[in-house]
């Protein structure tokens, strides 16, 4: 799990049976004490592998949306919730977005890519079981190729006992993050990063390719959020050379957060 704190933005991403949405109210309160007023909220997630294990308020998406709305102030009046489907119902993308009438200040050229990977290659997944001591995290970052995804980034990594790995990458004002659950039967890895449409477009492709190659998953879902539409086309260009074929595509407009495009890919051959 990860937390990113910017001067006027906070991002929390948690897995397991955490109760993420319970952070909304205390964060709004703490920000208010600093003279800051909330003007935007975005909540996203995939479809849980073990939905029955999730505690309140994460019992289902409808319940989550009710809870969010109850905890947001009335000034966030533009609200939209959507479940973006894929051909396989196990891979739906859940999005809630809201903003105040004076608008959220999402940067025009900025985009967020959220990648979810399941059925990781078993040999590669074994690299995420702890074997070393204090330097285990750095060794894992180097040996798996994660450190090479963005060589410019300052990496903060952590290995869990007996297995599992998390890292945050810090590169100027942009973050990236990876989380890995390597156990057979429910192996999972995520990669998320922020980019700009003004970057070299080949960088988007190469970054995605390098991240997915670390895990060689059977299924990949990619969500892109941007005010510009061209980003999602780059995703397919990154996946196809890796033997991953696009199986579904969904697009939805969120006036506040921009356009969300959700694509799923599966391995043509393992």
């Amino acid at each position: 799990s990860s937390l990113f704190v910017y001067p006027t933005k906070i991002i929390i991403k948690t897995c397991g049976t955490t109760q993420l949405l319970k952070s909304i109210r205390p964060l709004i309160h703490l920000a208010k004490n600093l003279g800051l007023t909330i003007c935007g909220c975005r909540y996203t997630r995939g479809t849980f592998i073990f939905p029955k294990s999730q505690p309140f308020p994460h019992i289902n998406f409808k319940q989550e949306v009710i809870y969010i709305e109850e905890n947001l102030p009335n000034n966030l009046c533009f609200r939209k919730a959507s479940v973006m489907p894929s051909k396989n119902p196990s891979y739906s993308w859940h999005v809630f977005s809201s903003a105040s009438d004076n608008g959220v200040h999402f940067s025009d050229g900025e985009f967020t890519v959220e990648v979810c990977m399941t059925e990781l290659d078993q040999v590669l997944a074994r690299k995420f079981f702890k074997t070393g001591g204090d330097s285990a995290a750095k060794e894992m970052t180097d040996l798996t190729g994660i450190g090479n995804i963005n060589p410019r980034a300052l990496i903060c990594d952590f290995v869990f006992d007996p297995c599992g790995y998390s890292m945050n990458g810090v590169d100027g004002d942009r973050y990236s993050t990876i989380h890995v659950t390597p156990e057979d039967g429910f192996s999972y890895a995520s990669f998320e990063y922020v980019g700009s449409v003004y970057d070299d477009q080949d960088d988007i492709v190469e970054t995605l390719k390098k991240a997915v190659q670390v895990f060689k998953p059977a299924t990949v879902s990619v969500s892109t959020t941007s005010h510009r539409r061209e980003v999602w086309t780059r995703v397919a260009h990154a996946m196809e050379p890796l033997g991953l074929k696009c199986r579904s595509f969904a697009m939805d407009e969120f006036s506040t957060a921009g356009t969300v495009v959700f694509q799923t890919f599966t391995a043509a051959r393992r």
């Binding site: 799990s1 990860s2 937390l3 990113f4 704190v5 910017y6 001067p7 006027t8 933005k9 906070i10 991002i11 929390i12 991403k13 948690t14 897995c15 397991g16 955490t18 109760q19 993420l20 949405l21 319970k22 952070s23 205390p26 964060l27 600093l34 003279g35 800051l36 007023t37 909330i38 003007c39 935007g40 909220c41 909540y43 996203t44 997630r45 995939g46 849980f48 592998i49 073990f50 294990s53 903003a99 959220v104 200040h105 999402f106 979810c116 399941t118 300052l154 903060c156 990594d157 890292m167 945050n168 810090v170 100027g172 004002d173 973050y175 993050t177 659950t181 039967g185 429910f186 192996s187």
Partner: protein, 66 residues
């Protein structure tokens, strides 16, 4: 699929705020002025803790348990 296991799929929350644009502490520090204990209290409600952290001129990044 296993009957039960660790849920890898994350939940992700992004909150945006605004303040007085003329106040330089908002534009340069803002939420980064929150003390560590306050952040930990929020994370306790979520049911995780900070296990590692790094920061630069622009933002702070924390790796959390779970």
């Amino acid at each position: 699929m296993a009957v039960s296991g660790f849920e890898g799929f994350e939940k992700r929350l992004e909150l945006h705020f605004f303040g007085d644009d003329n106040d330089p502490t908002v534009t340069t520090m803002g939420l980064r002025l929150l003390d560590f204990e306050s952040l930990e209290n929020v994370l306790r409600v979520v049911q995780c803790t900070v296990v590692s952290a790094v920061g630069n001129h622009f933002f702070d990044a924390y790796v959390l348990s779970e």
